[in-house]
Symmetry: C2
Subunit: 433 residues, 2 copies
């Protein structure tokens, strides 16, 4: 007999039923939060035209995209590949269905995306992303920047995080853009954004040296460094930004936008889970205004668990109508892996089924079925055991899949009274509906 | 500017938000039914090793499988393809994780599968399948055949079907196998199964001719035809099967198994949605015992909306341990398309959001936010409108995404009293929590 390798391909998450139960609970909690906040759920195909997917991409994306081979029966189709994020298919969807959508289009997508990158612990080639986006028609008020962030905050509350939970760090790309313009350093903007994006991962001297290596004078390095160190509450940060006395138009717009977004979030009672922080710039060129990342203060080494921002134009590659947007994403597959690794998922407690009903013998099957139906009608997940040889066998099975067991024997059927056994503590008590 | 084709690739379902809401409701209802019945949810990767996926396959599967091109960074991986059903990855999963699973393994998978077949109305290349399976270790009692069927019946109740709803037609492959063996017609078994599988789609004479063309004598044709016409309640059918006085061991086993499964289902009060029907044989060789299909009696032309059966060995290609199983599947993407086509999905009523809260001006945003949070805490999906220019604009937006609207103006904030407007009827009443 041929010997097969039955492990999943490297980089693919495959969970046992107990862990899957917990993953599903978190995913459902996130989806429910998105729904509560009025985001409309859509699903785009896993497979899309390569020319659409790669219209804007370059660099890593182009190297990591999974192309799909057409079959004999689909040979007439366009070249195809697996989507690598939700944003590109959303742009295509929004252009294709423009006349059937109401703008601003508040939309959520939760599904699997694919990137064929090098195998690495904690990196996945197939991964769930949970996205919210708001797409405007022509323009989009900054209230939606706050809307996206407060929605993601509500969603993140489902996570079993320790201590102080999470903290959303917010900035606006116009601040640094404006600052650099006022110093005539626009030609180094991409490099400087990247240096600041990495500043927390390297020693301070390395950051300083990186600026000097670009040929930036010491006076300007001080200005950038002073800017980078601004963080805290809205009042503090807006005060410090104004104290820089920078009259560059873009900078001033950035201060205003940041203040509006922070004030709206504070007004929603979220002042304790947000902070303004000029170290947040986000790596991608893509973003043009509000940017945010989310950390777990008790485990800063995890990095950002949720991020996003505002972009000037969603579908600039496919049409000429300006569609500014703001969005954010939770990378659930990687996040779940991290939660497991940090011991925040208690695997021993995870049973996929609530109650296992065990008919003692064949003649008790009808009564066991009736009882199971009653428990199901009460909202419980109920398994019925038909297979074990003796009661020991059956209880062992129940202990692996369920939290509780109920044995249905002759006496129970006669009396209509059932004992429910807690399979964790071993204690039994009479079942009361 | 380059002109892009922004339509989804042919054969991919892409729904507008209203229809997606209804699709999601049906999918969630099916998943909840599976969960209530104690089936453990798992997810297998979309991409798997080609040698695993094609270990058993042949014919159409091999022609229709979507192969995936490895990227530069995944070049060391095994050859890969997209899964075309849930059963093959389940076999791999069960072998890989045997030591961590409790048997019988009651499992459900709900997700997207892929087949690159010729474009055709109502056929999909990416489609949701909603599966339940029970995998035994060595042997598996027939109670699980009934368990799978009753679980699927519970799940199908979520569908908006007309009139009498659906009917599950049940048989057992051992009956026909035994009958053919008793007539020494085993060598024609595959052909005869196929002829019976298609019998309802062709005139009676064509079926008769097909038998005759195989060289089957008229006496045997009569016997087969008599068998094919047996259908009805358990009592009727078991009586008619016994009246054939066939002592073939396989045939007798088939009668017993069918009687057990039907009796268990009747015992669960499902006698009115099931029927025994010897025309049900299922096309695939794969099945070895119980087989079932589900029709909508008021629309028989739709064909089967849910089917399945028992198989001797789930993972015979990957290991030597016998793992008999029984399972069934709802093809939700195709089913949803059919429901739409038959006018059973009322698109005009489908709004993704419950309530749209509209602050009259900027100064009412904080109060509108507080109201929205209260409504969300009460379980509602609530959108907040920041974008429209005037009230007309804002109400128009609300009418497209939500069922109700609440305008938050100066008076409302002062009095704390809000009117909620039904956007379908146009009627307003005071909001009471």
């Amino acid at each position: 007999m041929k010997k097969f390798n039955t492990s999943p391909i490297s980089g693919m998450q495959e969970l046992l039923p107990g862990l899957q139960t917990e993953f599903d609970r978190l995913k459902a909690g996130i989806e429910e939060a998105f729904h509560r906040h009025g985001y409309q759920h859509i699903e785009t195909p896993t497979i899309d035209r390569t020319e659409i997917l790669l219209a804007k991409a370059g660099g890593d994306t182009e190297k990591q995209i999974y192309k799909v081979v057409k079959t004999a029966e689909t040979a007439d189709d366009a070249d195809q590949a697996l989507r690598f994020d939700h944003t590109v298919p959303l742009a295509r969807y929004t252009v294709e269905h423009t006349n059937d959508l109401a703008f601003p289009f508040k939309v959520t997508q939760v599904g699997r995306n694919f990137r064929g990158e090098r195998a690495q612990k904690g990196r996945f080639r197939e991964f769930y992303q949970c996205d919210v986006d708001v797409i405007g028609w022509g323009k989009l008020p900054f209230g939606y920047d706050a809307d996206v962030i407060s929605t993601l905050i509500d969603a993140l509350k489902i996570l079993p995080l320790p201590g102080d939970g999470f903290l959303v760090r917010i900035s606006n790309r116009k601040l640094l853009s404006g600052l650099l313009a006022s110093m005539n350093l626009e030609q180094h903007a991409t490099d400087i954004f990247s240096i600041i994006d990495h500043a927390e991962k390297v020693p301070t001297e390395a950051t300083q040296k990186a600026f000097t290596d670009l040929g930036i004078g010491s006076e300007n390095v001080v200005k950038i460094t002073t800017f980078m160190e601004i963080r805290g509450s809205r009042k503090d940060v807006v005060g410090k930004l104004l104290a820089l006395e920078n009259s560059n138009e873009t900078f001033v717009a950035g201060v205003n936008e940041l203040a509006i977004v922070l004030e709206l979030l504070e007004g929603q009672g979220l002042g304790n889970v947000i902070t303004a922080d000029m170290l947040i710039v986000r790596g991608l060129d893509y973003y043009t205004g509000t940017v945010f990342e989310t950390i777990v203060p008790d485990h800063r080494e995890i990095g950002s668990i949720c991020g996003g921002g505002r972009y000037e134009n969603l579908a600039g590659n496919y049409n000429t109508q300006a569609m500014p947007g703001v969005g954010g994403s939770i990378g659930l597959t990687r996040l779940f892996y991290l939660l497991q690794n940090y011991g925040m998922v208690h695997t021993s407690e995870l049973k996929p089924v609530d109650i296992c009903v065990i008919p003692f013998g064949e003649s008790e099957i009808p009564a066991a079925n009736k009882l199971a139906e009653k428990l199901r009608a009460a909202g419980k997940s109920v398994d019925l055991e038909y297979a074990g040889k003796g009661l020991g066998d059956k209880m062992k099975y129940a202990g692996r899949v369920a939290n509780y067991a109920i044995v249905v024997g002759e006496n129970e059927v006669r009396s209509g009274k059932y004992m429910i056994k807690d399979l964790t503590t071993g204690e039994s008590e009479e079942l009361v509906f």
